[in-house]
C-alpha cells in the first residue's frame, strides 16, 4: 500500500505536481501498479547479480580531439527565451528570500 503522502513526496522528487482533483485517481492507479510490481518479492534472488545494462558495456576510447557538432546559433534555435545569445530563465534565487 502506497500512501498519498508518499506519492506527493515522489512527485516533489520528480519535479511534478498534480491538481487537487487528479491526485486521488493517480494515487489509486499507482497503488495498483506498485502492488503488481510487489509480486517480485516472491522470487528468490539470493546470490543473483542484477542486470542493469545490456550489450557490450566496455569503455569506448577515442582520440582526445575536438569534434565539430553544432554552432552556438543552432544550439539556441529551440530555446524558448533568449537574450543577447544567452538562455533566459526566471529568477533562480527567490525575491522573497531576500526580503
Amino acid at each position: 500500500m502506497i500512501s498519498k503522502d508518499e506519492i506527493l513526496h515522489v512527485a516533489t522528487l520528480a519535479n511534478l505536481k498534480f491538481q487537487p482533483d487528479e491526485v486521488d485517481s493517480f494515487v489509486d492507479q499507482l497503488d495498483k501498479i506498485v502492488n503488481m510490481e510487489s509480486k517480485l518479492s516472491s522470487v528468490d534472488t539470493t546470490g543473483i547479480e542484477p542486470t542493469y545494462n545490456m550489450g557490450d558495456t566496455s569503455t569506448v576510447f577515442r582520440e582526445d580531439k575536438g569534434i565539430h557538432t553544432q554552432t552556438r546559433e543552432q544550439m539556441l534555435e529551440n530555446v524558448p527565451e533568449t537574450d543577447n545569445n544567452l538562455i533566459k530563465v526566471p529568477t533562480i534565487v527567490d525575491k522573497e528570500d531576500d526580503e
Binding site: 519535479n15 557490450d56 527565451e81
Partner: protein, 485 residues
C-alpha cells in the same frame, strides 16, 4: 502509387528503368497519404520538402536500391529541419538541428523521409491513445487501435501509404502494432542499430527496427540502418549481413521452441488457433516444434514496468522548459519553471511512468523494486538463453488478443500493461524478435512472434519469409480501406 502491390524491388525497377521519377513517386506518395489522413491520423508531420529531396535524387541519378524510395519515420527519431515531437506537448515545437544516425544512413542510401508517424507519447503505450496529437486508427477497422507505440508507422504501412517505416521497440512497440495491422515488423538485437538521435525512453531496452508488408523489405532496410556508430557506445561492431540477399525459406531441421507460458489463459482462442496453424505449417516444412518452459515469464511484466519506468524517469529529467520544448508561463522562479513546464507538458501516462520510476529508485524502495527487478531480469535472461542453447528459434503469439477498441483500455493502465506480456521477454533479454502475419481472427489480423539468438536476425527473417511465402498474407487488403477508393 498503390503500395499494396509494390515492394522496394518493384519500385526500384520502375525508378531504374525511368518508368517513374523519384519526384513523381514522392508526390504520389504524399497525395496518397493526404487523402487518407483524415481517417487514419498515421502522421504527426508530413515532410513538405520531400519532393525537393526527391528532385535531388533524380538529378544525381538512381543508384542503389533505396534510392528515391519514400520511407516513414516514427516521430521519436530526430530529423534535421523536420519537427520531432515524440507525440508530446513538451516537444510540440521541437525542431532538431541534427539527424539520427538511422536517418543519415537511410538518406545516404537515397531514401526519402516522407514524414513523421504518430506514436504513444514518448513511446509509452500500446495503442497511440496517449499521443498529444490524437489516436491513429487501425486500417482494418477504424474503431480499433493500431496498437503502439509505433501505431502510426504500422497504420501507414498497412494502408499502403509507404512500403516501409521505421519504428522503435522497448517492450513490443514494433511487434504489437505489426500484429494488429497484419504486417511484418522486426526489433533487432540490442546493439544492432545505433540509437543516436532516438529520443530515449528506457536505454537498456530501446531498439530501432523496421515495419513493412513484406519480410524482404524490412530485411533490406535493416541492412542499411544497422551497424556500429561511434555516437552510440552500445552499438555493436559485428558485421552487418545482407539480410535480403541471404533470405532462405528452407526450414528443414530448424528447431522451434514454444514456451507453454505463452499459451496463458488470457490469450484469445482465435489467436492461438492461428498460431497453431502457423506452427503446423513449419512442421510440414521440415522444422521440429517442441514445448519448453519459461517459468519466470509470469514476472516479466513486473520486471519490465519497474525497469522501464526507472530508466524513463531518469531519461526524462532533461525536459525542464529551459533549452527547448514547452515552457510554462507566469512562473516566479526556476523551480516553478521546471515543475510547471513538466506538469503541463507531459501527459498522464508519461507522468505515471516517471512517478513509478522515481518511486522505484527512491531511497526506501531501491532494493525492493529496482535492484530486485534487475535480479529477476538476470534469471529471466538465463531461462531464455538456456532455451536457445537447444533451439534455433522461440515462437508464440505476438499478442494476447487482436486489436482492441479505441477507449477500451485507456482508463485501466494495468490492463494496458498486461497487454505487453508476450513481447516484453525479447526486450528484457535483448534478443531479435519479429511479428509476421499468421491469419485473421474475426476479421482482424493475428501475428506470430519469432524470437532468435543474439544477432541471428537472419534466422528470424528466414522463418518469417517461409511463413509469408506459405500464407501470402500481404495479398489481403485491410477491410476498412475496401470500397474507399
Amino acid at each position: 502509387m498503390d503500395y499494396m502491390k509494390e515492394t522496394i524491388n518493384s519500385l526500384h525497377q520502375k525508378l531504374a528503368d525511368k518508368e517513374l521519377t523519384a519526384q513523381d513517386l514522392t508526390q504520389q506518395t504524399l497525395d496518397n497519404i493526404n487523402a487518407k489522413e483524415d481517417k487514419l491520423n498515421a502522421f504527426i508531420t508530413v515532410n513538405d520538402k520531400a519532393v525537393d529531396d526527391a528532385k535531388k535524387i533524380d538529378e544525381k541519378g538512381i543508384n542503389g536500391r533505396l534510392s528515391g524510395i519514400p520511407i516513414a519515420i516514427k516521430d521519436n527519431i530526430v530529423t534535421n529541419g523536420i519537427k520531432t515531437t515524440a507525440a508530446s506537448k513538451i516537444l510540440y515545437n521541437f525542431m532538431p538541428v541534427y539527424s539520427a544516425t538511422v536517418l543519415e544512413k537511410l538518406e545516404n542510401a537515397g531514401a526519402i523521409d516522407i514524414g513523421k508517424t504518430n506514436l504513444d507519447e514518448f513511446a509509452m503505450g500500446s495503442s497511440t491513445e496517449t499521443s498529444h496529437f490524437g489516436t491513429s486508427k487501425n486500417p482494418w477497422d477504424f474503431s480499433r487501435v493500431p496498437g503502439g507505440s509505433s501505431g502510426g508507422s504500422a497504420a501507414a504501412v498497412a494502408s499502403g501509404d509507404v512500403v516501409a517505416a521505421l519504428g522503435t521497440d522497448t517492450g513490443g512497440s514494433i511487434r504489437q502494432p505489426a500484429a494488429f495491422n497484419g504486417i511484418f515488423g522486426i526489433k533487432p538485437t540490442y546493439g544492432r542499430v545505433s540509437r543516436w538521435g532516438v529520443i530515449a525512453f528506457a536505454s537498456s531496452l530501446d531498439q530501432v527496427g523496421v515495419m513493412s508488408k513484406r519480410v524482404e523489405d524490412s530485411a533490406e532496410v535493416l541492412s542499411v540502418i544497422a551497424g556500429h556508430d561511434d555516437h552510440d557506445s552500445t552499438s555493436s561492431e559485428k558485421e552487418v549481413p545482407d539480410y535480403r540477399a541471404n533470405l532462405n525459406k528452407d526450414m528443414t531441421g530448424v528447431k522451434i521452441a514454444v514456451p507453454k507460458e505463452f499459451y496463458h489463459e488470457g490469450t484469445h482462442k482465435d489467436v492461438l488457433d492461428n498460431v497453431n496453424k502457423a506452427l503446423d505449417a513449419y512442421k510440414k516444412m521440415g522444422a521440429t516444434v517442441e514445448e519448453v518452459s519459461l517459468p519466470s515469464l509470469k514476472h516479466a511484466v513486473e520486471v519490465y514496468y519497474v525497469l522501464a519506468s526507472s530508466e524513463a524517469s531518469s531519461n526524462l529529467q532533461r525536459y525542464d522548459g529551459v533549452r527547448y520544448g514547452y515552457r510554462a508561463k507566469d512562473v516566479k522562479n526556476i523551480k516553478d519553471l521546471f515543475v510547471n513546464s513538466r506538469s503541463e507538458g507531459f501527459g498522464d501516462e508519461v507522468k505515471r511512468r516517471i512517478m513509478l520510476g522515481t518511486f522505484a529508485l527512491s531511497a526506501g524502495a531501491y532494493d525492493a523494486y529496482f535492484k530486485k527487478a534487475a535480479q529477476v531480469r538476470t534469471i529471466f535472461i538465463n531461462e531464455m538463453s538456456n532455451v536457445l542453447k537447444d533451439y534455433d528459434l522461440i515462437m508464440g503469439p505476438s499478442t494476447t488478443t487482436p486489436a482492441f477498441k479505441i477507449g477500451e483500455k485507456v482508463d485501466d493502465p494495468l490492463a494496458m500493461y498486461m497487454n505487453d506480456i508476450l513481447t516484453i521477454p525479447a526486450n528484457l533479454a535483448g534478443l531479435p524478435a519479429a511479428s509476421v502475419p499468421a491469419g485473421l481472427a474475426d476479421g482482424m489480423p493475428v501475428g506470430l512472434q519469432i524470437i532468435g539468438k543474439p544477432f541471428a536476425e537472419q534466422d528470424v527473417f528466414n522463418a518469417a519469409y517461409a511463413l509469408q511465402e506459405e500464407n501470402k498474407f500481404y495479398e489481403q487488403i485491410p477491410t476498412a480501406l475496401k470500397g474507399e477508393d
